[in-house]
């Protein structure tokens, strides 16, 4: 039996500032809150209280692994299959730096981007929020706040908490048992 998605209450705001204020207040009231905007809005980091550093760390770790692995990859065949070319050193560090750097970049970017998608739980082609009638405007010019009704949350209380923030509309989506 697949795990049931929680229901969401979605409030629409015409402007970013009240949306940010609503997010902050609702979060401080202890609700599981998320905002949706057509573009990154200044101040949403503070409003959401986002402190995640996983993605930057993933870039660093990927870079280190890539650089070390890339360097050793070049050392290995020259040790196990030594070719004396005019007495030049087997481990030619300056010549190896080029590929070391390229693999640093490649592994760093691949790890970082993969981590970003994994942490965001993307790709996920459908989400209950897409059922909200006006949610398509979240990629145009409207700003949305969602409250997740995680187990035990009182819907009426959540609705009045969201209403106090003055959204132009509220809609409930998701949460039904799939047919």
């Amino acid at each position: 039996m697949p795990k049931l998605e929680p229901a969401f209450l979605v409030g629409e705001f015409p402007n970013p500032e009240p949306m940010l204020a609503a997010t902050r207040t609702l979060r401080e009231e202890g609700w599981k809150v998320e905002l949706y905007t057509p573009f990154p809005v200044k101040g949403m980091k503070e409003a959401l209280g986002f402190t995640g550093r996983t993605v930057p760390h993933a870039f660093v770790i990927g870079g280190i692994v890539g650089a070390v692995g890339g360097f050793l990859m070049q050392v290995y065949p020259n040790i196990v299959y030594p070719l004396d070319i005019g007495g030049r050193p087997m481990v030619a560090v300056p010549a190896f730096m080029m590929i070391t750097f390229e693999l640093l970049v490649l592994c760093s970017v691949l790890t970082g981007i993969a981590t970003m998608f994994a942490k965001n739980r993307l790709p996920r082609l459908h989400h209950p929020l897409f059922d909200a009638t006006r949610f398509h405007l979240a990629s145009d010019n409207r700003f949305f706040v969602s409250l997740a009704l995680v187990d035990g949350a009182d819907e009426a209380k959540a609705r009045s908490a969201l209403e106090r923030q003055g959204p132009s509309s509220i809609e409930k989506v998701g949460g039904e048992v799939p047919e």
Partner: protein, 442 residues
Amino acid sequence: MSDRTRDSNYHRITGEVVSIPPKFPAPITWAILFGFSMIGVGLLILSVIMVFTRGVEIWGNNIPVAWGFPIANYIWWIAIGHAGTLISAMLLMMNENWRNTTNRFAEAMTLFAVTCGGLYPIVHLGRPWFFYWMAPYFSTMTVWPQFRSPLTWDFFAVLTYLTVSLIFWYIGLVPDLAAARDRATKRRWQVFFGLFALGWRGSGTHWLRWRQAYVITAAIAVPLVVSVHSEISMLFAAGPIPGWTSTIFPPYFVLGAAFSGFAVVTMLAVVVRSLLRLKDLVTERHLDMLGRLTLACGLMTAFGYVAETYTSLYAGSYEAQTVMDRFTGPYWWSFWGAVVFNFVPIQLLWWRKIRVAPVFTFLIGLSVAVGMWMERYMLLVTSLYRDWLESSVNAFQGTFWDWALFIGFIGLFCAGFLLFVRFLPVIAQFEVKEQVAEEGHA
């Protein structure tokens, strides 16, 4: 500005950008251009079949000019690609918001240019079916690439650059694909955009992680560009060949790359804004800034010419002979052609009136593209054709198939770019909106 106008501005920007693919403004012009590009692609396929069946003998390549057209063109293509990354990544780091309307198609240009460039060395291999021998893998014969040779650098540089450019372009595109998905009315567009938007829903936490990833990728992409073109220059500079073995090469190549790339971005900007009627998004200001960048990089490249000539003459001996041969030898046209096409027309860019005139900037861009091609040709051929011994002096001349392959790749580039323009959002609409929100105007 009131909230209402700001709000309608957002809506206008979304509409203007994402409605392009379903309601393409210039289908006939597009079809004609695409038709010509496809003729080029046909020529490319024919040339590749020819070279794969008859071998590289159909080209002008000889010993000592074993590199010929393919390597000169490889450098030319990769160099053009670099400007896309620089515009996008460097200007993002510097918070230059005007990049927002140019970065998307500049990055697309990078992708197609690097694809063309990356294919050239493979076609150039005498036995192209063994191209994967460049990759390190545990084979049954335990044969590895020779990592102490500069030729292994290419493989990793181009592979990394292509992958990173593709990822950078795509993750920047995802939010716009989502916007296009939400606007699409026809089923096939909904499915197409829906799949590639990966279910992006503009969540705040997603944006924040996305931003971290995007900015760090940009920060890594800038030194990557420098490393890739330095690497290419060192393929030359690491060899004991007069006219090549110079410490000036890495910066000289990187600046020349940026120069030719900015010139091509300008040409594409002119085409995109008139073909897609985007004159209020790609404005005179953008042409103005691109003109300034082209001029600045051009002057720095010119300084590279002066410095290179000076050091060679100062060094004397073979170096000086090669420089004199470039001035007055059989390939004098490629040297002076490079000087004239690269540095004379760009002087017009000192005037703002010229910088914002699309016809002029397009022609100046074209002149720089031609000039930089001549420069690569000159660097390659003049240094190689006169080897140390009289017996190994062999003049080089491109054949019909050399040119056919080159024109074919230009066709491939144009076809790829036109498909991008036709099917994907060419402008980062969410970044333009962000700029509207922060500055109050687009």
